[in-house]
């Protein structure tokens, strides 16, 4: 214990060194801006800074990357709340409540709450990372693809029940997304599906083209064509758009949502494959189920926003656990960090704590600090982005579309991705017009291939025995929860009808 504290004190001193602290600030700024811009994901920006870390030591490199990670998973909620355009898929649930609050004129509260929830979730998860990594890692290792599959199914199930429209609509959208996810070369046997001999389809549809097409371009088209009275520009008067942090009393009232978001985020973050996106959807779904007034969700409920935003940032600490203790990156961002470790001749894994305690504890303290500094950076960024609301709508729309095309082109330096993005934009427009929910589609694209791969791997690994999903306790529990989530609305309706008959 004393040794840990001494290590932490040394880590604090090191992370406050000018270069290191500068990296935290720079990382947060890059992360928040990249996360907020619809065409540029947090992951893009981590990959882009990798070459800049060649000349730095391992500590500033990792501080820069973890700070981008921390800022990046939060950043997308700013544009989500302000313009209904989430910058990254994990910020979609935050957008549901956040944008509604914005429309109700409570944009300051929505932004402030998102910042605070992110910071609290991230800070506490970094604390868990600091003090409880080894036991967490031990549990994570007992999970196999059977459990990964179950968690992915939970993510898919939660997006169906949290939709505001019909379950049938959500399922249609989800299956359409899962279908799009099958396009391209399949990971297990290398078979090409639904490519029709078109070269760029053989490598699959990148989920980023779907994300920015459906959310950003679709939203812009919808707003420009003027169906909604409250288009992005006049959702709230700019003078009130400065974020306001929630009071301690407000936070205390939301303690349940914070704790549930934290738990979901850390656990799901620590499981390879799933990550922040699943964490945020599951925690939102969980919040809706435990709520006494689930019907109010989607109209600007603080609980929903708080839980999802807490879990998104809590997943950062969770995802760092298997990376640092086992050398196993569970997400795209941690895979790039793994690359940075290797470039500096350090292999993360079981010996890291013993061989490089100084570096490890500096990263821990750096993450704790970054989450605190993020409150300030988040407020500044929210203010800057809110200024954009003053920009006339057509000009803003032109900029958003430009960003989307740059982001799409940068994926593979291929114009085909830009055309795809446009197509998805048109699809998004019509889905809005016909009231088909969009989030299930994007989640289907992201999680469909994962579900397929983990299912097939489990089958190979267990001699094609389907019962393995129910004989392994954790998988059984998670799958039953998913089934419960799916059946609960129907069951509730049935119970209500029976009640009505009795009366």
């Amino acid at each position: 214990m004393w040794e840990t504290l001494a290590n932490l004190a040394a880590g604090l001193a090191a992370s406050l060194e000018p270069l290191n602290f500068l990296m935290i600030l720079a990382g947060l700024a890059i992360g928040i801006v990249a996360g907020a811009l619809p065409g540029i994901t947090m992951l893009n920006s981590i990959v882009l800074v990798l070459p800049f870390t060649y000349l730095m030591g391992i500590v500033p490199s990792l501080l820069l990357m973890t700070s981008i990670y921390i800022g990046g998973v939060f950043g997308g909620s700013i544009t989500g709340i302000l313009f209904n355009i989430p910058g990254d898929p994990m910020n979609v649930p935050t957008t549901w409540e956040g944008y509604q609050l914005n429309k109700k004129g409570q944009v300051r509260l929505a932004l402030g709450m998102a910042i605070m929830a992110s910071a609290i979730g991230g800070f506490l998860s970094a604390l868990i990372l600091t003090f409880a990594s080894p036991p967490f890692a031990k549990v994570a290792l007992t999970f196999s693809t059977v459990e990964y599959f179950a968690v992915v199914v939970l993510g898919l199930a939660s997006v169906v029940v949290i939709g505001q429209v019909s379950v049938a609509g959500a399922l249609m959208s989800l299956f359409a997304g899962m279908f799009l996810g099958t396009v391209g070369t399949e990971a297990q046997y290398g078979i090409t599906r639904f490519a029709f001999g078109i070269k760029f389809l053989e490598t699959g549809i990148d989920f980023v083209t779907v994300l920015i097409g459906l959310f950003a371009i679709g939203e812009v088209l919808d707003q420009l064509s003027g169906s909604k009275a409250g288009a992005g520009g006049d959702a709230a008067a700019p003078s009130t758009s400065r974020a306001r942090l929630p009071s301690p009393r407000q936070l205390w009232a939301l303690r349940g949502s914070l704790v549930r978001g934290l738990g979901t985020g850390v656990v799901i973050g620590a499981i390879p494959g799933a990550g922040a996106t699943v964490a945020s959807f599951v925690s939102y779904g969980l919040e809706k189920q435990v709520s006494k007034e689930p019907e109010r969700f989607g109209t600007g409920v603080l609980e929903g926003l708080t839980a999802s935003e807490t879990s998104v940032n809590a997943s950062t600490g969770g995802a760092m656990i298997p990376l640092l203790t086992l050398g196993i990156p569970g997400s795209g961002a941690t895979a790039v960090m793994m690359g940075a470790f290797l470039l500096h001749g350090v292999q993360p894994g079981p010996l890291l704590f013993a061989q490089s305690p100084h570096e490890v504890y500096t990263i821990f303290v750096g993450m704790l600090l970054a989450n605190l500094v993020m409150i300030v950076m988040g407020l500044l960024a929210a203010r800057s982005f809110a200024q954009l609301m003053k920009v006339p709508e057509p000009i803003l729309a032109a900029f958003i579309i430009t960003f989307c095309f740059i982001g799409a082109y940068a994926l593979r330096n291929d114009m085909a991705d830009v055309w795809l993005t446009m197509l998805f934009g048109i699809l998004g427009f019509f889905m809005r017009r016909y009231n088909l929910p969009i989030p299930p589609l994007i989640l289907g694209v992201i999680l469909g291939p994962l579900a397929e791969q983990y299912f097939l791997t489990s089958m190979v690994s267990h001699g094609n025995d389907l019962t393995v999903f129910l004989t392994r306790p954790v998988s059984a529990a998670v799958l039953l929860t998913s089934a419960g989530l799916l059946l609960w609305p129907a069951l509730k309706g049935w119970l209500a009808r029976r009640e009505a008959v009795r009366v």
Binding site: V33, Q188, G339, R412, S461
Partner: protein
Amino acid sequence: MSTKVRILGLLAFVGVISASAPPLFPGAALAQEKYPSRPVDFIVTWGTGGGADAMARTIGQHAQPILGVAIPVSNVPGASGNTGLGQLMAAKADGYTIATYIMDTLATIPMGLSKVTVDDLEWVTRTQVADSFFFVKSDSPYKTIQELLQAAKANPGKIRVAATGYGTVDDVTVRFFEKKGIKLTTVPYPKPGERYASTLGGHSEVLYEQAGDVLQYLKAGQLRPVIIFADKRHPAFPDVPASVELGYDIQLPQFRSIVAKKGVPADRVKILADAIRKGMETPAYKKFAGEWYFRPDSHMGPEQFGPWVREQVGILDRYVKEFGLKR
């Protein structure tokens, strides 16, 4: 700060992002220009954080000052490296675009999964050769390779081997044992992390991997090697029997290399190869290579590398036909 300034700031950010992407219009080719006079794009045909990525970025970093121009790396993963190769083939054969090429990609040629043949490329330099092993968890009941193979014989298909995928060299090795009457099950995990987690967590009995990739687990005593697929034992693992010595004549070492499109002028290939060789001779690179247990004779210049690759394709082709792996 005015709104205008803020928007300008955002624009500057876009500028930075787009400037760091590979140039859209590589200048018109000049036959007599000094080479290299502008950055050499390095396509990594695998994702960030993997072995090919580490090789490219480390060599790129050390060869940069020798070549005198920047070597920006971009990752284009997919289809066992063939997606990135597609980009290489789309570029000009002027020596300003190079790519990584590893054994796993070579294996896709005899499988009929690659459109890029051996003759489509300039084989600039072989940078790394690393032997593959079977590893088991340290508390595994199988103390030796013989015990492991005995158990596999007694329970066909019950021993699971975590591998990169079907039709890969990992899979070919497993099929080789099947031909000898020892049935193991290949479980494909394309992501290295999932492959290691499945073995450390006891969800796969065996891991097929190179030693450098799992060094941490070896040092921490979490994994132990039971066989090396080579003709002789490795000096760092004197107690681990070699496959050939046990009568299993299979050795498909992982190699990683740097290639260019066919048709790059010979003098430019030589300039590239020389810079890479000098980069590999730096102490920092040598330390990296030692830690990853690369064979000391890994380096192979353009003259020997091409013929060596053709020989490897021949060996793989034989196995693929023998095991009926071709699609």
